[in-house]
């Protein structure tokens, strides 16, 4: 069973073999490291760029302008902020040219806290990214979805952003990627580079197959009829845990893994909230103008008279940074107990 880093690696290999993906690049993306999370290890088309985020995004836009597909990595989302106007231009190029130049480029970047990454390795980017019109934005919560979403990103003719929850890079899923060996040791021996000299190492790729997770399609990970919890990425797994815990206490909780932040699966959210009458949105980006607020706003506008309780959003605190000490990080990003308590509060609310 692959972990998320291996799943990303296999998706890139599949794309360079089958989708004419020619460039996978960024800082330390090529040999010998293959990415700080090893997510590009062994990928034939991976190469090291200069330490220059604007150079990376600019070059990706130029490559895409010729029609070639590329995947550009910003090593941590914390360092993507100085490219924001280039991201905006990438998103508006098709629009500004009245449909003449599309940019089939994917930007991938690790996001979120959870690894004690301090101020500049803990940022989230989903709320910021959701404001980049013209882009499609995804964030997986498990290796299979990472594989399927990344392939969808690479195939899409528009700019796409693949947000990697860095705390999940070594987490294994429950479902196999089509074609991957069942034995995780066998997979490791095939595609993980050895420690030490890697100059002669080459991966032995399993015969993986195409698997696509379409944009705008969420997934119900827990079924229930008392409350809807919508999340993605790292916090999806925490929401699942809480739902399981509360199920043993008699609660019936429906959890939706949004997977695709823009476009998003409104039909799934709407159908679920119409059933439960209660909803909680959970993510770790900062709370002011958070993407969950947009969803809560929409629920309020369109489903107001079907609600049994106020829609809520649990998000990161609106503080300048996530401090290194666990007390600081834990107080800044949503914790399991907060989700647990919020669900119970919402379920207890009576109209």
């Amino acid at each position: 069973m692959a972990n998320m880093a291996q799943a990303i690696r296999m998706a890139l290999h599949y794309a360079e073999t089958n989708y004419e993906l020619k460039d996978v690049f960024g800082q330390d993306v090529g040999a010998p490291l293959g990415g700080v999370f090893t997510a590009t290890q062994g990928v034939k088309s991976a190469w090291n760029s200069t330490l220059d985020e604007r150079g990376i995004i600019g070059m990706a836009m130029g490559i895409a302008m010729t029609g070639d597909r590329c995947v550009a990595e910003i090593q941590f989302a914390d360092y993507i902020f100085n490219t924001i106007d280039l991201l905006k231009i990438a998103g508006n190029t098709l629009w500004c040219t009245n449909g003449q130049y599309n940019l089939p480029m994917t930007v991938m970047t690790p996001v979120g806290a959870g690894i004690r990454g301090s101020v500049y390795h803990s940022h989230s980017f989903d709320a910021w990214a959701s404001r980049l019109a013209g882009w499609k934005i995804v964030m997986p919560s498990n290796p299979l979805d990472a594989y399927g979403l990344l392939l969808s990103c690479i195939l899409d003719p528009n700019p796409t952003m693949f947000l990697k929850p860095k705390a999940l890079m070594r987490v294994r899923g429950e479902e196999l990627i089509p074609g991957e060996p069942i034995d995780e040791k066998e997979l490791k021996n095939m595609i993980d580079a050895p420690i030490g000299d890697r100059s002669k190492w080459k991966p032995k790729w399993p015969k993986i197959q195409e698997y696509l997770v379409p944009f705008g399609e969420g997934k119900i990970t827990r079924s229930g009829d008392q409350i809807t919890v919508v999340s993605y990425g790292r916090h999806l797994l925490i929401c699942n845990e809480v739902a399981d815990q509360l199920a043993s206490e008699g609660y019936s909780i429906e959890v939706i893994d949004l997977r695709s932040i823009y476009p998003y699966d409104w039909t799934m959210i709407k159908t679920s909230v119409q059933k439960t009458g209660r909803v909680l949105f959970v993510n770790e980006d900062t709370e002011v103008t958070n993407f969950g607020e947009h969803l809560a706003y929409r629920v309020t506008q369109e489903l107001f008279y079907e609600l049994l309780a106020r829609p809520r959003v649990i998000a990161g605190k609106h503080v300048p940074g996530i401090g290194l000490h666990p007390h600081l990080e834990d107080a800044s990003v949503p914790q399991k107990h907060e989700i647990y308590e919020a669900i119970k509060d919402i379920c207890a609310e009576v109209p």
Partner: protein, 356 residues
């Protein structure tokens, strides 16, 4: 002379070798036909820009920004570019003073005016963007953007693909002197010059010594911007961009160098800015700047290459074309309000969250 005889692209057919002027010192051995063609393009570009300013002053457009004063630089560039679509041809990442280049490549006046007047028929943006923010995929003209200097790292991407393609095509990027303060400018010098990974790029700066209202002198420590390229071992030179002959010869030589070696070259062209930065500063004529069109025209007249009557007719014909083009654009449709979602995604896939 050999340099001038190198094949550079379709427009090179304009050079009739048997018709070389004898006054090599003055016209660099370029043919009469080529010189007259350059002059015609330069006049057309000037008439067009002044037409755009009139349209702005008449209240028929919201904003003007453009390139009067860059004709002697822009026209030879457009004539020498290997014109076509895709990586086998030259890519041009231009800034918003690029109309002379586009004119030399075949831009019709009416298409510039459609852009200026925000017509739905504007082939570059469909009425969505400012004047001179051109985009012509059929000629590899990358979309011109308002943010300065972003075109420089983007250009590295097209050059990267061209290097892979191996068709001797190059990427050309242009921009102003003030914008070189942006980090993107340095990014392009670094990306283009990495050892063993050099990019086939012509990196250029048109130095008019102004950044809106801020003069060059107070903002630069380097003697020449071109000196910065030298630090990256990039072939670099400063030219008089107000002289179309010097420009033509320099461009021709450097383009050939890039096609042959696959390595970048850098040109800093000293140019004039004959009007204010944009209509925001009034679009008024600036005194004491060299007018490259008039200087070149006088040289041609003095040398007998061009006759006064022919010259007057060229100006008059383009003036008339500008008036006709304005009338045509004025009569054409404008974008509709319900088109705002069009082209957010390819094939007009829905991007409106209300419809998710």
């Amino acid at each position: 002379m050999k340099k001038n005889e190198l094949k550079q692209g379709p427009k090179q057919n304009l050079k009739v070798q048997s018709n070389h002027l004898k006054s090599k010192d003055q016209f660099g051995g370029l043919s009469k036909q080529l010189l007259l063609q350059m002059h015609s393009h330069m006049v057309k570009a000037r008439v067009l820009e002044e037409r755009l300013i009139k349209i702005y002053r008449a209240g028929e457009s919201f904003f003007w920004i453009g390139g009067p004063g860059e004709e002697a630089w822009g026209v030879p560039l457009g004539m020498l570019a290997k014109k076509g679509q895709g990586p086998a041809y030259d890519y041009l990442h231009l800034h918003y003073r690029c109309s002379p280049t586009l004119i030399a490549m075949g831009l019709e006046m009416v298409d510039s005016i459609r852009l200026m007047m925000n017509r739905a028929t504007d082939p570059s943006t469909g009425g969505r963007n400012f004047s001179n923010h051109f985009c012509f995929p059929k000629w590899n003209i990358a979309p011109v953007t308002s943010p300065l200097e972003v075109q420089y790292p983007i250009a590295c991407g097209t050059a990267h693909v061209q290097k892979r393609t191996g068709k001797k095509s190059i990427t050309i990027v242009t921009g102003g002197d003030a914008g070189t303060a942006e980090g993107d400018f340095a990014s392009s010098l670094i990306l283009a010059s990495r050892k063993g990974q050099e990019l086939p790029m012509l990196i250029t700066v048109q130095n008019n010594k102004w950044g809106i209202s801020t003069s060059y002198d107070g903002q630069h420590g380097e003697s020449f911007i071109a000196d910065r390229a030298k630090g990256f071992n990039i072939k670099s030179r400063v030219i008089n961009g107000n002289d179309p002959v010097e420009t033509y010869l320099a461009l021709q030589e450097d383009m050939e160098y890039i096609r042959k070696t696959g390595k970048p070259a850098f040109i800093e062209a000293m140019v004039s800015r004959l009007y204010g930065h944009s209509s925001a500063s009034g679009a008024n004529p600036i005194q004491n700047e060299v007018d490259p069109v008039k200087v070149f025209e006088n040289k041609l007249l003095k040398a007998g290459v061009l006759k006064q009557a022919e010259c007057q007719k060229i100006w008059a014909d383009f003036e008339a074309e500008g008036v006709r083009a304005t009338e045509q654009a004025r009569s054409e449709s404008v974008p509709t309000a319900n088109s705002i979602w069009d082209h957010t995604y390819v094939n007009n896939e829905n991007a409106d969250w209300r419809k998710f």
